[in-house]
C-alpha cells in the first residue's frame, strides 16, 4: 500500500511520545547528573575511632564536639588552642558500617570520627530507613503517637528533622550520595526542576528546614 511509510512514521512518532518518560529519564541522567558513580563509602586512612555520648534533645553538634575534645584532652585542645567552627566543620562518612564524623583534614587534628549509635543497626537502616521514617511519620502525624525512641539509652522524639538530621546533617553525604546512585528520586516535575537548577534531584529542602541553615542560625 502506498501510505505504508506514512503510517509507520506516525507509529514511530507515537512510540517516541508514548515512551517519552523513559527517554526523558535517560536523557536527564546524562545531562544533569552531577554524580554518576556509586557513593564513596571508603574510609580515609588513619581514621581515629572516637565515640561521642549522646545528650538527649541537644542538637548542638559543635558544642558536643568541643566538650568531647576537652574531655578526651585531644591535641588541639590540650595544647591550649581553641578550635574554631571552621576547623570543626567536617563531613559524615560511612566507615566500616558506622557513621563517622570526619573533621576536615586541614584542621590539623589527624583524622577523627565520631559515632553516636542509631535507633537501629547500620544494616537495617541502610535498607529500611525509608520504612522506618514512614512508620514514624504516620504514627506521629496520623495517630498522634507521642512515644519516643532510644539511642544509646537516651530518649529522642520520632522526628526526621529533630532527631535524625541532628547527626546526619550533611545531605550530600547522607541523602544525595545514595539516592542519586539508587535513582530513588522524586517523580517529574519535581525532579526536573531541581536537576535543572543544578541540585541533585531531591526537593526535600525546598520545604523542610536545612540542618546547616539551622546550625548557622542557632
Amino acid at each position: 500500500m502506498s501510505d505504508k511509510p506514512i503510517i509507520f512514521a506516525g507509529l514511530a512518532v507515537f512510540l517516541v511520545l508514548a515512551t517519552f518518560p523513559v527517554w526523558y529519564t535517560f536523557g536527564s541522567s546524562l545531562l544533569f547528573s552531577t554524580d554518576a558513580g556509586p557513593p564513596d563509602l571508603a574510609a580515609p586512612a588513619g581514621a581515629l575511632k572516637f565515640s561521642l555520648p549522646a545528650s538527649a534533645g541537644d542538637g548542638d553538634m559543635l558544642g558536643r564536639l568541643r566538650q568531647e575534645f576537652a574531655a578526651h584532652q585531644l591535641p588541639a585542645l590540650s595544647s591550649g588552642a581553641v578550635l574554631t567552627e571552621d576547623e570543626l566543620m567536617g563531613v559524615w562518612r560511612i566507615v566500616d558500617g558506622e557513621m563517622r564524623y570526619l573533621v576536615r583534614p586541614d584542621a590539623d587534628l589527624g583524622t577523627l570520627n565520631v559515632y553516636d549509635g542509631c535507633v537501629e543497626d547500620f544494616e537495617y537502616m541502610r535498607s529500611n530507613h525509608m520504612i522506618l521514617l514512614i512508620e514514624w511519620r504516620d504514627g506521629v502525624i496520623r495517630d498522634g503517637d507521642t512515644s519516643q525512641v532510644e539511642i544509646n539509652g537516651l530518649p529522642y522524639a520520632k522526628s526526621l528533622t529533630k532527631t535524625c538530621l541532628q547527626c546526619h546533617n550533611d545531605r550530600e553525604a547522607f541523602c544525595y550520595n545514595c539516592h542519586q546512585y539508587a535513582n530513588a528520586l522524586p517523580a517529574w516535575p519535581a525532579r526536573s526542576q531541581s536537576t535543572m537548577n543544578g541540585e541533585v534531584g531531591v526537593r526535600c529542602w525546598n520545604c523542610h528546614i536545612q540542618p546547616e541553615a539551622e546550625a548557622n542560625d542557632g
Binding site: D3, P186, A187, W188, P189
Partner: protein, 453 residues
Amino acid sequence: MANKTGSHVLVDRDHLMKPITQTSGGYFLLVFLLFLGVAWGAFAWIWQLSNGMQVTGLNNTVAWGVYITNFVFFIGISHAGTLISAILRVSGAEWRRPITRAAEAITVFALVLGGSQVLFDIGRPDRAMNVFLYGPLQSPLLWDLICISVYLLSSLFYLLLPLIPDMAIMRDHHAVTGWRKELYRILAFNWDHNPEQKRRLEKAIAILAVAIIPIAISVHTVVSWIFGMTIRPMWHSTILGPYFVVGAIFSGIAAIIIAMAILRKVYGFEDYLKPLHFDYLGLLLLTMTALWFYFTLAEYITTGYGGLLEELEVFESKMTGAYAEMFWAMVIFMIIAFFILSFARSKWPVGATVSASVFIVIGMWIERYTIVVPTLNVLEGRGYHPAIYWPSWVEIGITFGSFCGFALLYVLFAKLFPIISIWEVEEAEEALEERLEHMKTYLPTGTTATAER
C-alpha cells in the same frame, strides 16, 4: 436479493472500506492539523506542569474550572455509544445498525479524554498513584474511578466484540495487505463465519448490551455525586444524578449526530446514513431536549421558590448575576435547538438535526460550566473574597488540545477500522424477515385470541 417486503439490502463492501483502503491528501492535512492542536495542548500541559497551577485562571474561591467542566462534558458525550448500541439494541430498533460502530468509538475516546481531564486538573499528577494506594471508599472520586474504569473496560469490549466479524471481512479482503492484514487476522480471532461463532457472539453482545446500561447510568450518576455529595449550595441536590444522566444521553446523541453528518459527507456514506436516521435520532434528541427542560425547570424552580439563603446566592448569580450571560445563552441555545427539531426536522432531517446538535453540544458544555463554577464563586459565609474566574491560555490550550485529541483518535480509528459495521448492516436482511415474522405474532390474524393460545 429480494426479501418478502420486496426491498433490497445491498451493502457495497468496497465503498465501506474506502476510508481504509484509500487515503486522500485532505486526510493527511486533517491529521496534521489535529496533531498540531494536540501538540498545542501538550505544550500547554507541559507549561502547567513546569510552572504549577498558577498558570491557570483558578484561585482559592473558584478552585475548579474548565478541566472539571470538560471532565463532566466528555463523560457525558461518552453516553452516545450506550444509547445507540445498548438501549436501541435492547429495544430492538433496527435502524441503529449503521450507527453502532461510530457511536461506540465516541464512547471509548470520550472516556479516555474525560479521564485525562482529572490529571490536568490536579496539582500533583506525579502522585496520582496515591488514589490507588490509599484511596478511601468514602470519597466520591473513588466511586468515579471504579465506575469509569468499569465503563471504559466494558465499552472497549463492546467496541471490540462486534468488530470481530468485520475484522474477518477485512482480513479476507483483497485490497488489504501487509501489517494491516496481520492486525485484522489477530483481531478476527479465527472468525470463519460459522453459525455457532455467530450465535455465541450475538449472545455475548446481548449480555454486554444489557449490562452496559446500568453501568453507564452509574457512571454519570457518580459523576454528578462528586458535586451532589458535598453540602455546597445547588450542588447538594437530589436531582443532580438523574439530571446528569439525562444531560449525558442528550449530549451523547448530539455528538453522534454531528459525527454521522461528518462521516456521511466526507466518505460519501449517504446510502448508509440516511435522512431517516437523522430524523429518528432527531426525534430522540427532541424528547431529550424536552426532558432536559423539565429537569432544569424542576431544579431551578424548587431552588428559587424554596429560597434557602445560600442557594439563592448561587441562583441569583446564574439568573441575573455574574453567570447570567452563560446561563441564558445555554437556555437560548436549547430553545433554538428545540424549535429547530420541532419544526424543521421533518423538512430537512439532516440539516436541522445537525444544526440543533451543534447548539446542544455547545449548550451542554455551558450547562456543565454553569453547574461547576457558580456554586464556587459565592461568598455565602465561606469568607472568601469574591473572585473572577476566567480560564487562562493554558486551560484553553489544554481544552482545545483535548478536543483535537478526541477528533484525532476518532479519525485514526476510522482509518484502521470500518466505521460502519459491515456485518451488522448486511445482517439486517435476515433480521428484517425475523421482524416480519415477529410482527405477525402480535398482529390480528383472523383467529380468536383463545384459539391462538
